[in-house]
């Protein structure tokens, strides 16, 4: 296995702790809220629950989505988690035993995403062009009209009401109340990924036409960041909501969204990867950033302090998802089916 050139790493703050290996592309994974388990889904549709974390980590195959799986999400109390698949179903699993609890008919098409509200026992499912919201009794209590295209991404408002949906022609904010019209954040372009700033001030999308579009949630004012080398799929906000990281080919950019917002400001550029940066993930509390590229490199940065990598490894295959658990553990899903957990050096960069 290749190693990272040590000269570009100023501190070795990324240390592999343990891994489990499946034999299929990890398309999504999620930490249980109490950090004792990880649920993972693969591109061919397998659903795994990883238990007894640590060097003796065990995993079990608990079920399957026919045709393939797309996403996994835990309910905030950790009692259950939901997976979505090509079979038109969102499946709900017991968070402790991994037993299947029920299958929700989310739609006729692929269920691109099922995601629990961060605070309530409400589940949002996106299948084809339609969003549905489910309550604890597994009943649909809100059904959107058809969006202008298949839903590309879904994100709950982290600080306030509503769930946002990205599709062709912008973002729609559904307020989960049938008497209130959804709010449209229009944009004549195709949004692919959606990220709320943690303070709910901004809604940001990465777009097909090599741009990043952002809206001020309150005023609805919008702006656009241009000049990316291709469609933008990698976005991450730091915990303060001031810094937005975006992938841009082999580099990534950091936009200062504090004060008046990013308009008119030049982003900071970070070079180090030799391949396309596919994934970016800021720590949930601290301000370190994990980045993964198409060549299998995983780096940790302290972007507010300097532009050198503070931790780096070469994975056995390129990452397919990055998920933080607190600031000290990072789970990496890989294309070859591994789920690797890294311990991150003490402190959060302060």
């Amino acid at each position: 296995m290749l190693d990272v050139d040590d000269s570009m790493i100023v501190r070795g703050l990324l240390i592999e702790s343990w891994y489990v290996a499946f034999d299929d592309y990890i398309i999504d994974l999620a930490w249980a809220p109490d950090a004792t388990k990880i649920a993972a889904v693969t591109v061919e549709g397998s659903v795994f629950l990883i238990d007894d974390l640590g060097e003796s980590a065990r995993f079990k195959l608990i079920g399957q989505h026919d045709g393939g799986a797309n996403s996994v999400s835990w309910r905030c109390d950790g009692a259950e988690f939901a997976t979505s698949g090509h079979d038109g179903l969102t499946k709900v699993w017991d968070g402790t035993s991994g037993e299947g609890l029920c299958s929700l008919e989310a739609g006729d098409a692929w269920v691109s995403k099922s995601i629990y509200s961060p605070r309530r026992h409400v589940l949002a499912t996106a299948a084809g062009r339609q969003l549905k919201l489910w309550n604890e009794r597994r009943e649909v209590f809100y059904e959107s009209l058809e969006h202008s295209s298949t839903i590309a991404d879904v994100g709950w408002n982290p600080k306030g009401p509503g769930v946002a949906v990205a599709a062709n022609n912008g973002v729609t904010l559904h307020l989960s109340d049938s008497s209130t019209h959804p709010r449209k954040f229009k944009w004549r372009g195709s949004s692919l990924v959606l990220e709320w700033s943690p303070d709910s001030r901004f809604l940001v999308t990465g777009d097909q036409d090599a741009t990043v579009h952002f809206w001020y949630r309150e005023s609805g004012k919008d702006a656009q960041m241009r000049g990316f080398p291709g469609k933008v799929l990698a976005l991450s906000w730091d915990s303060t909501g001031r810094w937005l990281a975006t992938g841009a080919g082999e580099i990534f950019l950091l936009w200062d969204c504090g004060g008046e917002g990013p308009a008119g400001r030049q982003p900071r550029q970070y070079a180090g990867h030799a391949n396309k940066v596919n994934y970016l993930a800021f720590q949930p509390v601290g301000h370190w950033l994990a980045t993964a590229d198409a060549g299998g490199f995983l780096f940790l940065w302290d972007p507010s302090d300097h532009d050198k990598v503070i931790g780096g490894v070469m994975l056995s295959s390129p990452a397919s998802c990055l998920r933080w658990c607190g600031d000290n553990r990072l789970a990496v899903g890989q294309q070859d089916g591994k789920v690797v957990v890294f311990e991150v050096g003490s402190g959060s960069g302060d």
Partner: protein, 323 residues
């Protein structure tokens, strides 16, 4: 537009309703060619063979904010093919069947405009089926049939058992006047050798003009309707001035890009020993230096296929770029 041998070839299958697309697909899937093929259909049909994968897809066109139709891509294809790329079982070939009314433009553009698609796939060719018996009934109804013919690398003139050979000759001449670069095969029940529809290298610069489709011939046919869509071939000796040519082509594509469906050619630039090969779809242009010219071979040959092409202006514009 990168080219590498790991790119999975994609065949785009177009044709009006009833022209025989499903029959051809069935043939391709059952033929013993040893390839694993994934088919993306516009709706679930009756086909589906062990070892192959058939996925239904609803056409979803993503237009870009700049309003340029040449930048439109098919969101549904990006989603489905993006997922296929991640699977263990790789496919040797992708077939995309479009609806009878579909514009092949966004399908082809998807593989040039989207960076992930461009990296993983290459368009092998556009194959268009034409119903020899009924095409004349609807060819003038709208732009679809004409655009499908104009975009094609290969045209299967199907159902030849239902029309006379005179009618076929006329029809073929008319098709030729619209798209002089496409190869036309006459078929019954879509029976055709697989190597005429798969791995044809329609977008492959190395093979762009190797079969010399005689595109500079002038076809005289009495179909004034088709003046809207035609081919203009230019073949001329001499060397081109790179800067002048570059400027001319840029301006041409900026003004007429939406009307130029396909173009390809081999060019001779002054002070270079190598041939320059290029091809394009609307405003998307792909070109590079190729092998060295052989003795006595140096010449420029290129063809434009499009709507409202001005043969005289194109020839004059091109000739003005010669040194």
């Amino acid at each position: 537009m990168s080219t590498n041998r790991f790119q999975v070839p994609v065949t785009v299958l177009t044709g009006f309703l009833g022209s025989g697309k499903t029959t051809l697909l069935n043939r391709i899937l059952t033929e013993n060619h040893g390839k694993r093929i994934a088919v993306i259909e516009n709706e679930f049909g009756e086909i589906g063979v062990d070892n192959d994968l058939v996925i239904a897809s609803e056409e979803e066109i993503f237009e870009m904010n700049n309003g340029c139709i040449c930048c439109s891509v098919r969101g549904d294809l990006i989603r489905i093919l993006g997922n296929l790329m991640k699977r263990r079982d790789k496919f040797d070939h992708i077939m995309i069947e479009t609806t009878g009314m579909a514009d092949p433009g966004p399908v082809v553009q998807t593989f040039f405009m989207d960076d992930e698609m461009n990296e993983a796939f290459r368009v092998d060719g556009v194959v268009t089926l034409v119903d020899a018996k009924h095409v004349l009934l609807h060819i003038d109804d709208g732009d679809e049939v004409k655009e499908q013919i104009a975009f094609a690398d290969v045209i299967l003139l199907n159902k030849i058992d239902l029309v006379s050979s005179e009618e076929l000759d006329q029809l073929e001449a008319r098709i030729h006047s619209m798209n002089v670069a496409a190869k036309v095969h006459r078929t019954r029940d879509a029976v055709v050798d697989m190597d005429r529809v798969l791995d044809i290298g329609g977008f492959d610069l190395d093979r762009a003009l190797e079969d010399d489709p005689q595109f500079t011939e002038q076809y005289r046919v009495d179909h004034p309707h088709d003046q809207a869509i035609s081919s203009v071939g230019i073949k001329t000796p001499g060397d081109l001035d790179l800067d002048k040519f570059d400027e001319w082509l840029k301006e041409l594509l900026a003004n007429q890009g939406p009307d130029i469906f396909r173009m390809k050619g081999v060019l001779s630039f002054s002070d270079t020993k190598e041939r320059y090969v290029f091809q394009g779809v609307h405003m998307l242009f792909d070109g590079r230096m190729d092998r060295q010219w052989r003795e006595g071979e140096r010449a420029n040959s290129l063809v434009f296929i499009g709507r409202n092409l001005d043969r005289k202006a194109l020839n004059e514009g091109f000739n003005a770029c010669l040194t």
